[in-house]
Structure formats: C-alpha cells, structure tokens
C-alpha cells in the first residue's frame, strides 16, 4: 500500500492569499507512473486553490501482467478519484495501451468526460482513410506473424540438421539474434494468440469502455487548435499524426544517401505477399515474378543437375532457403516506425504566459518534420516563424519521445529549437523493465547528453538503472524542493511515480 500522500500543495496554498478565478490555471503537475518502460501520465491543471482539469495520457508498459499493473493503476484511480476530464490515447503500441486491457475492470469504474485519438484511429470516418490503414497494418501484422512462425519452425529443423558444426553454429547464432529482435518488436506491435492481425487488446479494451460509457470521442488532425469549454486559459495544438501519406510512412535520419531507410509499408509488400503464402499449401500463381512457363517442372531431366547441386547433402551449407525470411525484421521495423508515426502529438499552451508543454507520443522523425509543414500555421509564429518552431521555442516541458531512443526526438527540427531556459523533461525509460533488444538503442547517449545540457539536468528518467552519466549526476531532483518534484514508493521500495509540479510564471 502506498504511504499516504498529503498534498504538499495544501501547505503552500495558504501562503498565497490572492483572489483567484475558479478556472484560472497557473499550475500543472505531471505525474509519470513508473510501471516499466512505457507511458502512463496524469496531468492535473489547476491553481493554488484547486485542481481544475485532469488529463490522462496512455497506460502501458513493456513488462508485467495484471498483477504488476494493478497497484499502480489503483494508485492512479485514487489520485484522480476515478474522474478523468480528458483521456488521450496516443498510438496503438503495447507500451502505451496494454494497461487498459490488463486493468480493464478498474478503468470501467472511471468517469471519463472526453477522449481524444489521432485521425488514424477513426475507423468510422466515411473517407475510409483510417480503415484502409488499419487493414494494411492488419495484413502486414499477419504476414509478419507467418514469417515469425516459419523462422521458429526452421530454426528447430536447423538445430537437428547434421550440418558441419562450424557453419551450424553461425547459422544458429544469427537465427537466435533474429528471433530475439523479432520478439522484442512483436511484443510492442502484435496481439497474442490467434488474434495476430487484429487491433491490440489494450486499444480494443479502451475503445470498448469508451463506447459503453458513451464518452465523447474526438479524432484529431494536425493543425487543429482546441480549447476546452470553460477553460479558456489552455490551448491544445494538434501536431500529428500527419495526414500526408508521405510523412506518415517516412522515417529518416537526414542525409542524401538513399540508404536511409524508407518506411513506406508498401516496400515490404512483395515479401509480405510471400510470407502470407507460407501458410498455403499450393503455389500462388499470382505471386510469381515471371511467367509460369519459366518454372522448372518436376520431371525436367535437363535441369536435374542443377537441382541436385542445390539439394545435395554435400552442399547443404550453401542453401539459401532461409535468408529471405530475415526480411521479417525489416517489415517489423517498418510496422513499428509506421505506428509510432501515427502518434497523436500535441502541445498545450498556457494562454497567460504562452509557455508550452509538448507531448509527442512516440512520433518519429517523419512526424516531427511534418509538423513544420502544417500549411495553415505558416508564418503564424513570432517574427513570421512557422507556428511549430515558435511552439518549440516556448516549450518548457517536454515528454521525451520514444523512451530516449534516437528515433523519438528530431534533432534540427526538434530539440535544437527548444531554446527556453526553463525546459524540463521526463523520459519513460526503465532498463529493468524493458523489451530485450531495446536495450541497445535506449537511451541514445548523444540525445541523453544533449537533453541534459538543454535542461540543465532537469531531466527525470523513470529509472536511471544502467544509465551512465545520467541527469541526476548533474542535478538531484530532490534538491529542487517538494513543491517542484515529488515521488513516492510502495512498501517494497519500488517507485510508484515521479511528479513534476510546474508553476506558471506570472
């Protein structure tokens, strides 16, 4: 059970004896629940008198079942008194949504006023764009799953084969590495059991809860600017997911070299087609690259020598039956990046001070770049800048994208533009509880150092386990004082949450 958390605000509020309008907002407390690498945030906007508006963003983690999730979610339920004014679900990855399924019974008791998703989740859109995308994703996920099953099956055959152990060890080692990588990303992207092609259970669960409760849902497009009725002092700017298909599929580490990855899902389509055919018994003639008369017939005597040369036991080590399956890795990376780019990315602006909080979900480079090209925001920022650049300039809080990986934060079009000296960041990374192969990419140490420098050490990481030169070496957040930084633990010593209390300058 959590230790009782008496709000430190209460004490502090008594100091200010100013008359405050009921819905005025000059504080925002951002609470990051620490249930493992993955996002779950409660942001309470308010003033020195009371909380005005509660926002929840995502609920997921790379690791843990219902039992592990429950204490956190219960704490969360207490904290918000089971009332959420605005629920935002950024994108369909397990580390952002699986909590909704694992603790569905708790969330069912919540009173949720409104929920927001990116346009990519609007399957009832008459234009059918989102549905088309979902279908494509589903097909790709099925193909991927087919490939993964086949890889595992063939790995077993390989283990039993009587190949010379020198080659065999090499093949086994690489197939093991491949499977590890596939499992890591499958964990984030694909449903369990026989529902491989379907939406993730967390997404299905929260959508069902919202539907049952008849909660008002908005699907948002980049360029939307939203104010909540009754709370004129907050402005929400929707940045992503991009509507231009060129961006939603785009990854990109800048550079002229075309070896930069191209994340058009379609690029894997030819391989995906073959993966899908793996589960069929007969040859799919539609899927041949050449006219079928070029195929060798079973009884073709003349070409027997070639077939024997390929299939003969002496040449077993030179067979290439499995190499093409490695493409499952590329396909999986594409699906992963693509879904990251469907993140609902948004900025919240405090009307009074024009200061900004930035929540990009897990948007990757392609999405970040697209924000700067939102047509109607051209020249709308200070000094004729694009509004997005201006928003980034004014950012004082940044939820770090994609758990501190290189992909999750754009450099020139992102972090470089965050020039405000007040910048404070939070990153949802915990190397104790993380998908296995994410360890090699998170944190990206250059991004980490850049952020530490930008924030003067005011970067809160869920858990700094195994992180060298972490921000706390520069600045111990506890020294900021309890009215700025709070944290609490379970009896077993595990951190429940880390919280940043933001006070708007007046």
């Amino acid at each position: 059970m959590p230790k009782s958390t008496i709000s430190k605000k209460t004490a502090q509020r008594k100091v200010h004896k100013k008359i405050i309008h009921a819905n005025e907002i000059n504080t925002a407390s951002v609470r990051m629940y620490c249930m493992g690498t993955g996002d779950c945030f409660i942001v309470k906007f308010g003033n020195d008198e009371s909380d005005v508006f509660t926002m929840m963003i995502d609920c997921g983690s790379c690791s843990g079942g219902p039992k592990e999730f429950e204490p956190y979610v219960k704490n969360l339920a207490d904290y918000v008194n089971k009332k959420i004014d605005l629920l935002i679900v950024t994108h369909e990855h397990n580390d952002h949504v699986n909590g909704f399924a694992k603790c569905a019974s708790i969330f069912k008791q919540f009173e949720i006023k409104e929920a927001w998703f990116g346009w990519t989740e609007n399957t009832e859109d008459p234009n059918g764009y989102a549905q088309k995308l979902k279908n494509k994703q589903g097909k790709m996920k099925l193909a991927l799953n087919n490939a993964i099953c086949e890889i595992k099956k063939r790995n077993k055959t390989l283990e039993k084969s009587n190949l010379d152990s020198y080659q065999k060890n090499i093949f086994l080692k690489s197939s093991e590495a491949l499977m590890n990588g596939l499992d890591t990303l499958e964990l984030i992207n694909v449903s369990d059991g026989d529902k491989k092609g379907e939406e993730l259970p967390g997404m299905l669960a929260i959508k069902k809860i919202l539907k049952d409760k008849k909660v008002k849902i908005r699907y948002l497009n980049p360029g939307d600017i939203i104010t909540i009725p009754g709370i004129p002092s907050l402005k929400f700017y929707i940045l992503g997911p991009p509507t231009d298909r060129n961006y939603i599929f785009k990854d990109g580490k800048l550079g002229a070299d075309v070896y930069k990855k191209n994340f058009e899902l379609y690029n894997s389509s030819l391989a995906a087609e073959a993966f899908l055919n793996l589960s069929k018994d007969s040859l799919n003639y539609k899927d041949l690259p050449f006219a079928s008369y070029y195929l060798v017939e079973q009884n073709d005597r003349e070409v027997r020598s070639q077939i024997n040369s390929y299939k003969g036991p002496k040449n077993e080590w030179r067979k290439i039956d499995n190499n093409w399956l490695n493409n499952a890795g590329s396909l999986e990376l594409r699906i992963n990046s693509h879904i990251n780019n469907t993140s609902l990315a948004f900025a919240v602006e405090f009307d009074k001070t024009k200061e900004v909080m930035l929540f990009p979900g897990d948007a990757e480079y392609g999405s970040w770049e697209s924000w700067h090209n939102i047509e109607k925001w051209k020249n709308k920022g200070k000094d004729g800048k694009h509004l997005v650049e201006d928003l980034l300039n004014r950012t004082i809080f940044y939820k770090v994208g994609h758990h501190l990986s290189y992909n999750g934060t754009a450099l020139e079009k992102g972090i470089s533009m965050m020039t405000n000296s007040e910048l404070f960041s939070m990153a949802t990374l915990d190397r104790n509880r993380i998908a296995k192969n994410w360890k090699s990419t998170m944190p990206n140490k250059y991004l980490l150092q850049e952020l530490i420098q930008k924030c003067d050490g005011k970067l809160i990481i869920m858990d700094e386990f195994e992180i060298k030169n972490g921000p706390s070496e520069i600045l111990d957040p506890k020294t900021l004082g309890e009215n700025i930084y709070e944290t609490d633990q379970f009896n077993n010593g595990n951190t429940i949450y880390k919280q940043y209390n933001l006070h708007i300058n007046q």
Binding site: N267, A274, L295, T441
Partner: protein, 698 residues
C-alpha cells in the same frame, strides 16, 4: 558432322564468348538519350559452361526460396543463343538474368586477374574438423532471385551472392513505373560490387571483421571503385559520355554514378552513389561534391564512409586524366586549351576516350595491386594509401605523370592521413624497406651478407630469414607453372601446412616459422606478433600441433609483375595472424584469457563476459631476386616499443593503444548502429554473421 569432327583437333576455341547485357541497368534503356549505349556486348574469356551457367569460377543457381521454385536455367551453348551473342536483354526473362550475372561477374573476375597477375581464389570454407581446417571452394554461387527486398549481398559463410527483387516506390514516376519489379541482379554495378566483395574476401578474409570504422567501409568502397572503373571499359559508353560532357568527366555523367535504377526505385532521385557529386535535396539539381575533411572524422556509416574513399580515388583519377589530356585540348583549340562551343570532333572524342580508358585502367590496377601491400587485419584508409604508394613505387620507379602525387593529394583533401608518419610525402608514405636476410639459395648456401640492412638484427634471425626465403623461392618455382586453381590451392596449402608421401616431403611454412622463431624477440619486433616464450601470459593460445604460440598463415602467393619500363618484381607474399583473448570491465582492460579453437566459432560458452578476441597481423613481402624480406606491414598485437633494444630480457607488452581503440569502436553505440536493423537483429559488432547482408538493410 564428320568433317567437323576430323578437323576439331585443329580448331581452337574462340577467345571470347559474347553475351549481351545492360551496361548499367534496365532503367537506362527506357531513357531516350541512354538507350543506345545501355545495351552492350560483354566479351567473356571463352570457357566451357554447363547450363546455369556453370563455369570454372561461377555456379549460377536460379532457385527462388520465396516461392520454393527453380527457374529454368539458361544453356549458353544452345545453338540459337550462341548465334546471337546470348539472349536479348529483358527484365521478364529469368534466363537473361542468369546470363547477365554470369557476364558481369566474369568480367569483374578477369579485370582482377589482369591487375593482380594471378588467378583469383575464393575464400575457402572453414570446417569444424581441426585437422582439415578448411576446404577448397571452386565456384562462387550466384543466386539471382534469392530475396524479396531491396538488397543484394555476398555471404562469406555460404560463398554465395544473393540478389533480391522488390517492387519499387520511385520518387520520380517518369523514370520508373510505380510498383514495377526491380531486379538487383540486372544492375551491372550491383553485380560487380558484390562480386568484388567475394574476391576481396578471398584475399583478405578478416576484412569482414569491423575492428575500426574503416574496415567495412573499405570493403564497400573497394567494391564501388571496381564497379565504377569497370564503366570505363565499355568503349561505346565512354565515348558517349565524353561527348556529352565535352571531355570534362568532373561534370555529372553516368560513369561516376552507381546503381541508377536501385536509387530511383527506393524512392530517391539520383543514383545510389555518385563519386563526383549528388542531387541537391532541395533543388533536385546535381551538384559537384566538395571534399570536406570533417567527413572522415564524423561519418561512420560504412557506405557513406566508403564514399569518402571512392571520391578520393575518383578525384585522383580525374586529375591524372586532366593532366593527360591537356595537350590534346591544346591541339584541338589552337593552343588556347579552351575548346570551342558545340560538339567535339569525333576524332578528339576517340582520343579523349582512349586516354580516359587508359587512365581508368591504370588507376584501377594501382588500387588492385595495393591489396598485396595491405595488412591482413584492421585496415584503415591511411594504410590503404600507403599500400597504393608503396606498391606503385615498387613497380614504377619513375613517376613522370605524378600518379602518386594525385592520390596523395586527393586523400589529403579529405583529411585521410595514415597513422604514425610525420610528413605526407611519397618517401614517408612508402613502407620502410627492410632488406633483411642473410640470404641463402635453395640449397642452403649463403649468398651474401648484407651490411646495409636497415634493421640490426641478431645474426641468427638474419640467417633464419634467409632459410625461409630459400623455401619460398622453391614454392614460387613450383607454383609458377600451375594453372589449375584447385592445384594452386592444394599445393599452396601443402607448402603452408607441410606434406609428405613416398616421393615428396615438404616441411611446411607454418612449422618452419614455429621451429625457427618460436622464441625470437627480433621476429616479434618485425611482425609485431607474439613469438616469445611467455606468449600464454598475453592470452595467445598454444598451438595444438606445434607447441609454440598459435598463429595462422594466410594467403601465401607469388606476386610477379612487369612495370611500364620493364621493371620486374618477383615476390612471395604471405600474412601471419595471431589472436589473443582480452576481457574488459567498466570500459578498461582487465585481463587476458586463452581463446577457444578458431574452428569452434559460434559457440559462446568458452568466452568470458565482456570479452573479445583481439587480432594482430603482418603481411610479409619477400623479394625473390635478392632473397630478402623487403617489407613487413604490420598491425601489431605487441607494443613494438617494448621489443626495442638488444636486451634478452625485454618484456613484451600488449599493444594497448590499438586494443583500446578497438574496444572503444566496438562499444560505441553510434557505430553499433550501422543501421536500426543491426541494432535489433544483429549478433553484435564483433561477431557479425552476415556482415554484408546487414549493411544493406533498409
């Protein structure tokens, strides 16, 4: 038929088999201005080929694992095919694809053999049986349709080239139909590039192991260099492009570009790589490349880093070419050197083209010859520059056209400086001449004692070196007359590992070195390897066979060439490699361990946590005419400073500088992140299983 048979003894086989194919790739056949030059006839040295085609060097097997089907193999000897120089270039006929890969790969192989002056061998297959150790591989396998992705690679484990096909997503839909199939095996550049990977692997097996940022980049760059210069061997293409650029090959032209269709197909505007310029992202206009010395320090991704080397070599080529045509331009412009507007005279084009072809062939040969002067492991671009300069200075005494300066200048402009030299001049770039050897002839008689030897070694080492040299001359005499590649391999192996039957007895080179140098600090100093008693304490394994320190001998070969002024070199070259096990803890070197047998690769259990194998190596070049050790090009395992002096009690230390640099490289996540695919699905940088497959993932 009878008449034909009777005469057949008198009939010589033709010198060439002519095969039609694309000079670049299918996309250029669709553009009006290049269609005419894209279809060319490859002239391949005649050999008997079976269906596939299957020849002496290559075995094309068209099995498509993605649909579990074989495509009909082509019979190049079929009457109609022979009669019309092979099948018509066609994207939709897999048999033409087989013909194309065969033609391009054979052209590449022959260009190499010309440059090297000897037959090429594929890298042998390693086996787990320690006694057999490795097996001869006669043919490289080519699978034209092995993958469904925008990728093609050489597999060192399978000794095979795997080519992929994919559906395109072009940035420019006027050049390539969207969703059309693109076959990587139809691109001259890609086939030549991958074949070069295989050839290089046959010469320098450990260049697959990324021990510094340059190693994989070198593999990529070298493969690109070969593919690029091969463009200059197609006369029609060359003349066309010279006419188009009015002789200025520094302008945008097809010769300096690689893989047009591939580049367009994966959604960019230009070719995959361009040695002299690139397409501006914003303006979509081609612009020449300006060398930036910072690139070499900051760019780590192997292809991009390789491009720096390619650009350097190409610039050297361009300045030599410009130098060679100044007189022609003056003649053609009444002495002004400035050509008139309008098209060039066809005669001038022919002359310029011939100069360009000659220069390209010289530059390519310089690049290929240099391979014999490279260290066997851990190569850097700087080492390669030294190899180019040394090799060229060895063969061409009088560099009247300043070829060597052109190379040095081009490298310097890109900030590529070799390690450990004080000035950037030809003299200091050349590897130091050793002239070690108390030489003896084949019968063991002393020939002379060299007083001017640059290194003062103890007389014993000098004498032993002489004996080794005599042995090498014997090897060279035997191998000279053998043409069959398998016999070359077998005999060489006998000379390395030793052999005996009723009639012959060969005490192998491996054994000789072990017996003679197992406790020679001087030999350790020359090679930078552990040839002293307490080798065990530095993590070097004991040889199961000979008892001394374990080492590997690679690539024993005879190098004989004739230079332009009839300078002749006769050398025997081989490399010695040694490894030791090292363990790091918290970023610092902790201790040594004895690594497991090399044949048990892949098994993890015996290596401790945080450990890797650290390799040193040395290429020894013996001059057969003077019977001296001429060069020792070393990547030392041992700190050479700890071996200096004459004291018998010198205590050798590990080369900690190299070791730490390697550790830093292997553990820098930015390097590990060659691409995202490697991060997720790789087996770690120090044991990449399919290095080239991973490199090209996107």
């Amino acid at each position: 038929m009878k008449i034909f048979k009777q005469n057949s003894a008198a009939l010589k086989p033709p010198p060439f088999r002519k095969l039609r194919g694309y000079a670049f790739d299918p996309s250029l056949s669709l553009k009006h201005d290049t269609a005419s030059i894209n279809n060319i006839v490859y002239k391949i040295s005649w050999e008997n080929v079976g269906i596939g085609p299957v020849g002496e060097y290559l075995e094309v097997i068209d099995y498509d694992p993605t649909i579990n089907q074989f495509y009909l193999p082509v019979d190049l000897d079929a009457k109609y095919i022979l009669a019309q120089d092979g099948l018509d270039p066609s994207e939709s006929n897999p048999q033409f694809h087989q013909q194309m890969v065969y033609a391009v790969a054979m052209t590449t192989i022959k260009n190499f053999e010309k440059g090297l002056g000897r037959k090429i061998l594929w890298s042998p297959r390693r086996v787990s049986d320690q006694k057999i150790y490795e097996e001869y591989v006669s043919q490289l396998r080519i699978y034209p349709h092995a993958l469904r992705e925008a990728n093609a690679f050489y597999s060192p484990v399978k000794k095979a080239l795997l080519f992929g096909y994919f559906s395109s997503t072009p940035a420019d839909e006027t050049i390539l139909m969207p969703d059309s199939l693109v076959f990587t095996c139809l691109s001259h550049d890609i086939v030549a590039h991958e074949t070069t990977h295989a050839i290089l692997d046959g010469m320098h097996n450990y260049y697959n192991e990324p021990t510094n940022a340059d190693v994989l980049a070198f593999h990529e760059a070298f493969a690109d260099i070969v593919a690029l210069f091969q463009h200059f061997t197609f006369p029609e293409v060359l003349r066309h492009q010279i006419a188009k650029t009015r002789g200025n090959l520094g302008l945008q032209n097809l010769l300096g570009q690689l893989a047009q269709q591939f580049g367009t197909a994966i959604g960019d505007y230009g070719s995959l790589r361009d040695a002299i310029g690139d397409i501006d992202v914003v303006t979509k206009q081609w612009k020449p490349l300006i060398p930036d010395p910072n690139d070499y320090r900051t760019i780590m991704e192997p292809h991009k880093r390789g491009s720096i080397l390619v650009a350097a070599v190409f610039e050297a080529f361009l300045s030599i070419y410009k130098n060679r045509i100044t007189d022609l331009l003056r003649i053609a412009s009444d002495g002004t050197g400035i050509l008139q507007q309008g098209e060039l005279h066809p005669d001038l084009i022919n002359r310029l083209a011939s100069e360009a072809a000659k220069t390209a062939s010289h530059a390519l040969n310089m690049c290929i010859r240099a391979l014999d002067y490279c260290p066997p492991v851990d190569i850097t671009f700087g080492d390669y520059l030294r190899a180019i300069i040394t090799a060229d200075a060895d063969l061409v005494e009088d560099d009247v056209l300043n070829y060597r300066l052109a190379f040095i200048d081009a490298f310097r402009r890109r900030g590529i400086y070799p390690d450990g030299i004080k000035t950037l001049s030809i003299e200091s770039l050349c590897y130091p001449l050793l002239n070690i050897g108390n030489a003896t002839d084949a019968d063991g008689n002393t020939i002379e004692l060299d007083e001017n030897s640059s290194q003062k070694l103890d007389p014993e080492t000098n004498q032993l070196m002489g004996i080794i040299n005599g042995f090498l001359r014997e090897y060279s005499d035997k191998i000279k007359y053998i043409n069959d590649r398998e016999q070359i391999y077998t005999l060489t192996k006998k000379y390395i590992s030793g052999y005996h039957d009723e009639t012959t007895q060969i005490l192998g080179l491996h054994n000789r070195i072990n017996v003679k140098f197992n406790a020679s600090l001087d030999f350790s100093l020359i090679t930078g390897l552990a040839f002293f008693e307490n080798f065990n304490s530095l993590g070097v394994r004991q040889s199961t066979r000979y008892g001394g320190p374990s080492f590997e001998i690679q690539n024993l070969r005879v190098v004989s060439k004739v230079g332009p002024k009839n300078t002749q070199i006769n050398q025997v070259v081989f490399s010695i490699l040694q490894r030791c096990g090292v363990t790091f803890e918290n970023g610092a070197f902790k201790e040594f361990y004895i690594p497991p047998l090399s044949t048990s690769q892949g098994k993890q259990e015996s290596a401790p946590e945080g450990s890797f194998e650290f390799r040193g190596g040395c290429t020894l070049i013996f001059d057969l005419d003077t019977l001296k050790l001429k060069y020792a090009i070393s990547k030392p395992l041992i700190d050479k400073n700890s071996l200096l002096g004459n004291n018998k009690n010198r205590s050798p230390k590990i080369n900690i500088k190299r070791l730490e640099a390697q550790y830093k490289y292997l553990n820098d996540e930015n390097n590990f992140g060659i691409n995202e695919y490697v991060q997720y699905f790789g087996t770690g940088l120090h044991s990449l299983t399919e290095p080239f497959a991973f490199l090209h993932q996107h």
